[in-house]
Assembly symmetry: C2
Homo-oligomer: 223 residues x 2
């Protein structure tokens, strides 16, 4: 049995039901904590499921912010300082990460409220999440308002990458599953993962080939 | 032990290594097959890991296309017909889905080459993937070239949703894990998932609360 929603069906859904439905449909999403700080040194932490890869050279990440949903602090801090951190949410602290979405006052730091620790490195003013194992510092490159629905596309360039040594594989792939990174579906469902496998670059007239986790062809001499 | 890459380290990485590294860093990604057709009725299928949620009202999805990577057919077909489908890749056919990324000639249909079937519904010219369980038909709303790196942001509006009845929960959440949807990390690593749990809307001064899969509070009378 399958359900078929037409555009009319979608438009007639109760608002929160529609939000839960549509948010489920893009597939599994990244889930990250965005660390920022204002000019007074007050820290802010917010959970987002909208970070996406935009390019490797230069290394760019995009992030969609809904001004009516994400605390305005995140956006105003990014504008003020020109910096932010992206911290993977992991199996160790997904409850605390979710709790950052509560509507705390501007003057309150989500770090303290949810029990996560700020960590700083030289040359970066924005705070990292100490408990996060894969994390990036970015500088702001662009803020674009998308006219179609008023959401905001923030684009940052990666300046620092911090990750566990044993998650970095020979060919550059990062085993984020081994690092405990989680994924989210819909608005509120968290998942960990099982690796099905890596596949070699696909070629016409050749069946798919499995790769070892380190990027070598399985069964090859250097596998 | 942890690795620390600075911007200089990143810039000095060999190109393919850098691509694998940076592509791993946004977290888990959605993985979808984009179904299109040209004015002559020739079908095309391409795998993308860049579909993201843009808004629920109207229901909008975004997708980043790199003109030098994704076969030009996808973009030119979307422009020509103004329609495309998004089909979740599932555990049943992830090898075939990956194989669509081989550089087949324009005149060749990836459906036939990889052994997936096209499915049509009334009112939609673009083909769905029959084997996919969660799938959407969209009409093109906008194509924007991002000046920062020449990638293309395609925005579509959801006109039809097809999904298994038993994956749709009472409150609108879709259990895409139960529907077999997979996720991708980096350029080539596929994963299935285990649900850790759903969490209720977070509130200040209240600990996180678990939800049943159907959206009710666990332990509540209607749970």
């Amino acid at each position: 049995m399958r359900e078929h929603f037409t555009q009319t069906d979608i438009e007639q859904l109760e608002q929160r039901m529609r939000a839960r439905l549509i948010n489920s449909l893009s597939g599994f999403k990244s889930v990250n904590l965005i660390g920022t700080q204002n000019l007074e040194g007050e820290t802010n932490l917010s959970i987002v499921s909208s970070v996406f890869h935009l390019g490797a050279s230069p290394a760019l990440m995009g992030m969609i912010i809904r001004p009516d949903v994400v605390p305005r602090d995140t956006l105003s801090n990014i504008k003020a300082l020109g910096e932010f951190t992206i911290n993977h949410v992991s199996t160790d602290f997904w409850h605390q990460a979710h709790q950052t979405s509560a509507r705390y006052e501007s003057s309150v730091s989500e770090f303290e409220q949810v029990g996560l620790n700020a960590e700083y490195i030289e040359g970066v003013s924005a705070p990292f999440v100490q408990e996060s194992r894969v994390k990036l510092a970015l500088t702001l490159r662009e803020i674009n308002t998308l006219n179609i629905n008023g959401t905001i596309l923030v684009i940052g360039e990666v300046k620092h990458i911090l990750l566990p040594s044993d998650s970095l594989k020979e060919d550059g792939y990062v085993d984020i599953e081994a690092a405990g990174t989680v994924s989210v579906s819909g608005l509120d469902c968290y998942h960990d993962t099982n690796r099905l496998g890596r596949l070699a670059y696909a070629k016409v007239d050749q069946a798919t080939k499995s790769l070892c986790i380190n990027g070598n062809t399985e069964g090859s001499e250097d596998g």
